[in-house]
Symmetry: C2
Subunit: 212 residues, 2 copies
C-alpha cells in the first residue's frame, strides 16, 4: 500500500543504494518548519534543501514540485483517526469531523488544511497531481464510507443511498468552510453535522422530484 506520491516511482529493476528514509524525513520536517515560519507560498525548493541538508537533485528526484511534498505530508497525517463507535450516525460523524477539522486546523502541530487548499489549487494545472489527490481522497475517507454504510445497514439512511456520493456530499460542507476560512470551532461542529445529516437522511440518490 504505497502512498500516492511513492506510487509515482516504479519498483527497482537493478541494484544500487536505496532511498534514504532519513533524507525523506528530513525533507518533510524541513517543509513543516518552513511552513510555520514563512508560509506555504514563500517556501522554495532551495530553502527546503538547505534546511534539510539535502541536495536539490535528491529532492527533485522524489518530488517534482513542492505540492508533492505537501501531498506526502497530507498522506502521513491521516493515521490517527479512531474507529467509529457505530452507536448513531450523528455521533460518529461528530466524532469524525471533530478530528478531521482539528487536523486541518493544526491541532497536532501541522495545519493540514493549508496543504489541502494549495494542493487542490495546483492540481488544476497538474493532472498527475490531481490523480494522486483523488486516490488519496478515496483512501482517506474509507472510514467515513464505513460509517455511512453501517448507518445505512442500521436503517438510519435510506436503503438506496449512494454511498460514494453521500461521502462526497458529507465532506463538501466542511471543505467549503475550510476554503472560506470558517472552519467551525469544536462547539459548532454538531451544527455543521446536522446540516449535512438533513441532506443525507432525505435520501441522496432519490430520483429528481417533479417540477414545481
Amino acid at each position: 500500500m504505497a502512498s500516492p506520491v511513492a506510487a509515482l516511482h516504479e519498483a527497482r529493476t537493478s541494484v544500487g543504494a536505496r532511498r534514504s528514509e532519513a533524507t525523506e524525513a528530513a525533507v518533510l520536517e524541513a517543509f513543516v518548519e518552513l511552513l510555520a515560519e514563512v508560509g506555504y507560498a514563500a517556501i522554495t525548493m532551495e530553502a527546503v534543501a538547505k534546511r534539510a541538508r539535502a541536495g536539490k537533485a535528491t529532492i527533485y528526484r522524489w518530488w517534482p514540485t513542492k505540492a508533492y511534498i505537501a501531498l506526502s505530508l497530507i498522506s502521513k497525517a491521516k493515521v490517527e483517526l479512531p474507529t467509529p463507535q457505530g452507536l448513531s450516525l450523528r455521533s460518529d460523524l461528530i466524532d469524525y469531523m471533530t478530528r478531521v477539522l482539528g487536523m486541518w486546523r493544526g491541532d497536532a502541530g501541522l495545519p493540514v488544511g493549508v496543504l489541502v487548499r494549495h494542493c487542490y489549487a495546483e492540481a488544476w494545472s497538474d493532472p498527475a497531481l490531481a490523480a494522486a489527490l483523488q486516490s488519496e481522497r478515496l483512501e482517506r475517507w474509507t472510514l467515513l464510507n464505513d460509517m455511512l454504510q453501517s448507518a445505512r445497514d442500521r436503517g438510519e439512511l435510506p436503503a438506496e443511498t449512494d454511498l460514494a456520493r453521500a461521502k462526497d456530499f458529507a465532506m463538501s460542507w466542511p471543505l467549503y468552510l475550510l476554503m472560506t476560512d470558517q472552519v467551525p470551532e469544536p462547539d459548532a461542529i454538531a451544527r455543521m453535522v446536522d446540516d449535512t445529516l438533513n441532506g443525507l437522511r432525505a435520501g441522496l440518490s432519490r430520483p429528481p422530484s417533479p417540477d414545481t
Copy 2:
C-alpha cells in the same frame, strides 16, 4: 460599486493623468490568452506585460500579484446572471446553478473555475486577498440570497431559515464538485440541486437534535 480590486486604489485624489482603461483591458485580455495557452501556474507577470505591451511597473502599480488579476477577471465575469423567475426554489436554483457552473466551466470562453480555485488557495497566505475574495463572494451571491429569501417568504423554506448560512450551504456542494473536477454536466445539475434542497428544506438553522 467598484470591484474589490479596483477599490484598493479608488482613493486616488491626484489631478494628473488618469489610469488608462485601455491598458487595464489589455492586461486582462493578455491574462486570459495566457491562461488558455500555458495554464495558470505558468503565467508570469513578465509575460503578461509583454503580451499586453504594458510596462511591468504599470502592472505592479495596480495588481500586487497575478492572483489579483485573476480576481479582476472573476469580478467582471458575474454580470450576465439572470433574475430569478420566482416560480419555485427548485427551478430557480437549477437556472442559477446552470449558469454558474457554465461560467466555471468556461462556456463563455473564460474558465472562471480555474481562477476561483487558485484565488482561494493564494488567499490563504494573503489576508488582503482573502478579504477581497470574501467581499466578492458576498456581492456575487446576492442573487442567490434573493432567491432563498423569496422561497422562505413563499413558505418553501422554514421561516427560521438562516439565509446567509443557507446561501453558503447551497454553494458548498457545487464548489466541492468544482474542486474535485466533477462539475456536473447540464443534465446532472437538477440532481445536484435536489441534494442541496433536501438539506435546506429540513431547516438549516434548527437547533441540534438530542443525541441518539
